[in-house]
C-alpha cells in the first residue's frame, strides 16, 4: 500500500513549504500527494432567499475557480516534478473537513502550514493547524 500525504493549501502561493515538505517525503517513500483546498462554509449560516436560490450555481463557480486558480497549478507542478498528485476542493470548516478527508483517502499523514498568528489571534479566531492537531486521528505535521 502506497503512502498518502494529505496537504491542505489556502492559495497557490502560500503553503509552499508544507507542499515542498510533503513532496519530498512522498518522493522518498514512493508515495502520492492529495492536495486539498477547503472553502470556508458553514451549514448553519443565515442567508437571504436570494442567496439560497443561487447557492448551487455559486458553489459550482467556487469549486471551478478554486480548481483553476489554486489546485491545478499545484498538481501540474508536482506532476512535472515526478510526484503523483491529485487535487480535491471541498466546502466546510477547514480542520473538520481535512480530518474527514484524511480518513476518506486513507492518508498516512496530514501536512499543513500555519499562518504565524499571534497567540491572542489564534486564541480568539482559532487556528486550523492547532484544531487539526486536536481532532485528527492520525499524525499531523505542521510546517512553519
Amino acid at each position: 500500500m502506497s503512502v498518502v500525504f494529505l496537504v491542505g493549501v489556502d492559495c497557490s502561493a502560500c503553503g509552499e513549504r508544507a507542499l515542498d515538505y510533503a513532496a519530498e517525503r512522498a518522493k522518498a517513500r514512493d508515495g502520492r500527494l492529495v492536495v486539498a483546498h477547503i472553502i470556508e462554509w458553514s451549514p448553519y449560516s443565515f442567508n437571504t432567499p436570494q442567496d439560497n436560490e443561487e447557492r448551487h450555481r455559486r458553489r459550482e463557480e467556487e469549486i471551478r475557480s478554486a480548481r483553476a486558480e489554486i489546485i491545478d497549478p499545484i498538481t501540474q507542478r508536482l506532476r512535472a516534478e515526478g510526484v503523483e498528485a491529485e487535487g480535491v476542493v471541498r466546502h466546510g470548516h477547514a480542520a473538520d473537513t481535512l480530518a474527514a478527508l484524511a480518513e476518506e483517502c486513507g492518508a498516512t499523514n496530514i501536512v499543513v502550514g500555519h499562518h504565524g498568528m499571534s497567540r491572542l489571534r489564534a486564541r480568539v479566531f482559532g487556528s486550523v493547524a492547532s484544531t487539526l492537531v486536536q481532532i485528527a486521528d492520525r499524525p499531523v505535521t505542521v510546517v512553519p
Binding site: 448553519y44 449560516s45 443565515f46 442567508n47 437571504t48 432567499p49 436570494q50 447557492r55 448551487h56 450555481r57
Partner: protein, 508 residues
C-alpha cells in the same frame, strides 16, 4: 455600474416626489384617505363572514383551520411523529458531506423563519390578547400546532415541483406546484392549476405589499414614535420620512444588490430574536409565582371567557387569526423560501418546515403572550391598533430600558421580513410577467413605494389590507394542496419506510 446609477436615480426620484408632498400639511392623512377605500373593499371581500354564536367568523379562517386539521389527520399527526426526526434533519445528521456548500435544511429553515418571525409575534399577539383575553393564547398555540401540518404539506410540494434551471438556480413555491402538480392529474386539472397559480401569484404580490411590507413599516414606525416620546415626538407626523429611510435601506439591498447589508441583517436578526426570547424568559422566570395563575387564565379564558365579545367563539377567532397571520401556515409563502434546499427527498424539507410554526407560534408567540398576561398589560378596552406599543409597555413594566432594545428588534425584524417578502412577491411577479430586467425593476420600485405608503397610513386600514391579501393567498394554495395530498402521502410513506428501516444514509 448601470445598476447603481439606476438605483440612485430611482431613489432620488422617490425622495423628490415625497418631499414635494411633504410640503403639504397632513401628508400622512392624505395617503391614508386615498388608500382606505381600496383597503376596505379588499378586506371586506376576503373577510366575507358568517355569524356563529353572535360573532362574525370570516370564512377564510375556517378554511385555514379546517385544512390544517384535515392535513394533521390525513398524515396521521405528522406534526408530532416527525418532530424528533425533523430535529435530526435540521442538525445535519443526514447531510451528505459531498453536498457541503449547498443549501442545507438548517439554512432553508432559518431563511424561511426570518421571513415569518417578526411583528406578527410582537404586535399581533398583543392584539389577540387584548381583544380575546388570555384565552386567545390557548387557541393560538393550538393553531400553531395544527399549522405545522399545513406547512409540511406545502413545503414538501414546494420542493417537489420547483423549477431547476440550467444555470443552477432554483425557483419554487405554490405557483409552481399548483401549475405543474395539478397538470399531472389531467387536462381539466391543468386548467384549474393554471388559474389557481395565477390567483396565488396575484394575491402574493398583494401580500408582499401589505403584510410583508406596509404592516411592517407601519408598526416599526409606531414603535419608533412611541419610544421617542409618543404624540409629542418629533417623529410623530413624519411617517413618510421614516418610510423613506427604510425604503432606501431596502432598496440598497434589493435593487442595489448590496449584499453586505442583507448579510449583516441576516446575522443580527437571529441575535435579536434570541435577545427578545431571553428577555421574555427573564420576565417570566422573575415572576414565577404569577406563572401558574397566567396559565390558568389562559386555559379557563379559552373555554369560559369573561367579558369577551362573542364568548368562546370570539376568543377562538382572535387566537386563530393572529396565529395564522404570524406563522403563515397554509398561506404558501414559506414554500417559496423552503424550496431552495438541496435534497433528493422533498419530504425532508416538509418535515423540517414543521419547526417553523412551532418556533414562531408555539414558542415565540407564547412567550410574548405570557409576558403581556403576567405584567397585566392587557386591557380589553384598549385600542386594538396599539399593537406593538402594548407589548413594549409590557416589557417596559419589567425592564425599564427594554423598549429601546425592542425598537431596534422591531425595526430589524420588519426590515428582514420586508427583504423576504420582496423576494416572494418578485418570484410571483416574474411568474406572471416573465423574467426580464424591466419587470424585475418595476416590481422593486413599487415595493419601495409601498414602504413609504405603509408608514404613512393609520394602522387600522393597514392591518385590514395586510391581513386580507395574506389570507387571500390561502384560497388557491390550500385548494390545490387538497388535490395534491395523495402525492405528498406517497412521498411521505416511501420516505418514512426508509427512515424506519434504517435505509437512509446517516453521516453523523
Amino acid at each position: 455600474m448601470i445598476r447603481k446609477t439606476a438605483v440612485a436615480t430611482a431613489l432620488t426620484g422617490l425622495l423628490a416626489c415625497c418631499s414635494a408632498w411633504a410640503q403639504d400639511i397632513g401628508i400622512d392623512q392624505r395617503i391614508d384617505d386615498a388608500i382606505r377605500p381600496a383597503a376596505d373593499a379588499v378586506a371586506g371581500f376576503v373577510f366575507s363572514s358568517f355569524p356563529v354564536a353572535g360573532v362574525q367568523i370570516p370564512f377564510v379562517l375556517v378554511w385555514l383551520i379546517v385544512a390544517a386539521t384535515i392535513f394533521t389527520f390525513y398524515f396521521r399527526f405528522i406534526n408530532l411523529r416527525a418532530f424528533r426526526h425533523g430535529f435530526q434533519l435540521v442538525r445535519g445528521d443526514y447531510n451528505d458531506p459531498h453536498a457541503a456548500g449547498e443549501v442545507t435544511h438548517f439554512q432553508a429553515l432559518a431563511t424561511a423563519l426570518s421571513g415569518t418571525v417578526g411583528l406578527g409575534n410582537i404586535a399581533g399577539v398583543a392584539v389577540a390578547v387584548s381583544l380575546g383575553g388570555p384565552g386567545a393564547t390557548f387557541w393560538m398555540i393550538l393553531a400553531g400546532l395544527l399549522g405545522m401540518s399545513s406547512k409540511f404539506t406545502e413545503c414538501t410540494l414546494g420542493v417537489k415541483y420547483r423549477n431547476e434551471y440550467e444555470d443552477g438556480t432554483v425557483s419554487g413555491g405554490p405557483m409552481y406546484y399548483l401549475a405543474k402538480g395539478l397538470a399531472e392529474r389531467g387536462p381539466g386539472f391543468a386548467r384549474l392549476g393554471k388559474v389557481l397559480a395565477v390567483l396565488f401569484a396575484i394575491f402574493c404580490i398583494g401580500g408582499s405589499f401589505g403584510g410583508g411590507n406596509m404592516f411592517q413599516a407601519n408598526q416599526s414606525f409606531s414603535q419608533v414614535v412611541n419610544v421617542t416620546g409618543g404624540e409629542a415626538s418629533w417623529m410623530a407626523d413624519k411617517g413618510w420620512l421614516f418610510g423613506l429611510v427604510i425604503a432606501v435601506a431596502v432598496g440598497l439591498v434589493i435593487i442595489g444588490g448590496i449584499r453586505g447589508i442583507a448579510r449583516v441583517t441576516s446575522k443580527v436578526v437571529p441575535f435579536m430574536a434570541v435577545i427578545y426570547v431571553t428577555a421574555g424568559l427573564v420576565i417570566i422566570l422573575g415572576n414565577l409565582a404569577a406563572v401558574p395563575g397566567a396559565i390558568l387564565s389562559i386555559v379557563t379564558g379559552a373555554f369560559s371567557p369573561a367579558g369577551i365579545a362573542g364568548g368562546v367563539v370570539g376568543v377562538l377567532f382572535q387566537g386563530f387569526r393572529r396565529a395564522a397571520f404570524s406563522n403563515e401556515a397554509g398561506v404558501g409563502s414559506a414554500a417559496i423560501a423552503h424550496s431552495a434546499v438541496r435534497t433528493s427527498r422533498p419530504v425532508t424539507e416538509g418535515i423540517v418546515a414543521l419547526y417553523e410554526p412551532f418556533v414562531d407560534t408555539v414558542v415565540v408567540c407564547t412567550i410574548t403572550a405570557l409576558v403581556i398576561i403576567i405584567t397585566g398589560s392587557w386591557d380589553p378596552s384598549v385600542d386594538p391598533s396599539a399593537g406593538v406599543q402594548l407589548t413594549s409597555d409590557a416589557f417596559e413594566s419589567a425592564i425599564s430600558w427594554f423598549p429601546w432594545i425592542l425598537t431596534l428588534a422591531v425595526v430589524l425584524f420588519a426590515y428582514s421580513t420586508m427583504i423576504s417578502w420582496s423576494y416572494y412577491g418578485l418570484k410571483c411577479w416574474t411568474f406572471l410577467f416573465g423574467e426580464s430586467r424591466v419587470a424585475d425593476f418595476t416590481y422593486k420600485v413599487l415595493f419601495l413605494f409601498f414602504v413609504v405608503v405603509g408608514s404613512s397610513m393609520q394602522l387600522g386600514s393597514v392591518i385590514e389590507f395586510s391581513d386580507a391579501m395574506i389570507f387571500a393567498m390561502a384560497f388557491p394554495n390550500l385548494l390545490g394542496c387538497y388535490f395534491l395530498l395523495p402525492v405528498v402521502k406517497r412521498e411521505l410513506n416511501a420516505y418514512w419506510d426508509d427512515y424506519k428501516q434504517g435505509r437512509l444514509p446517516k453521516f453523523s
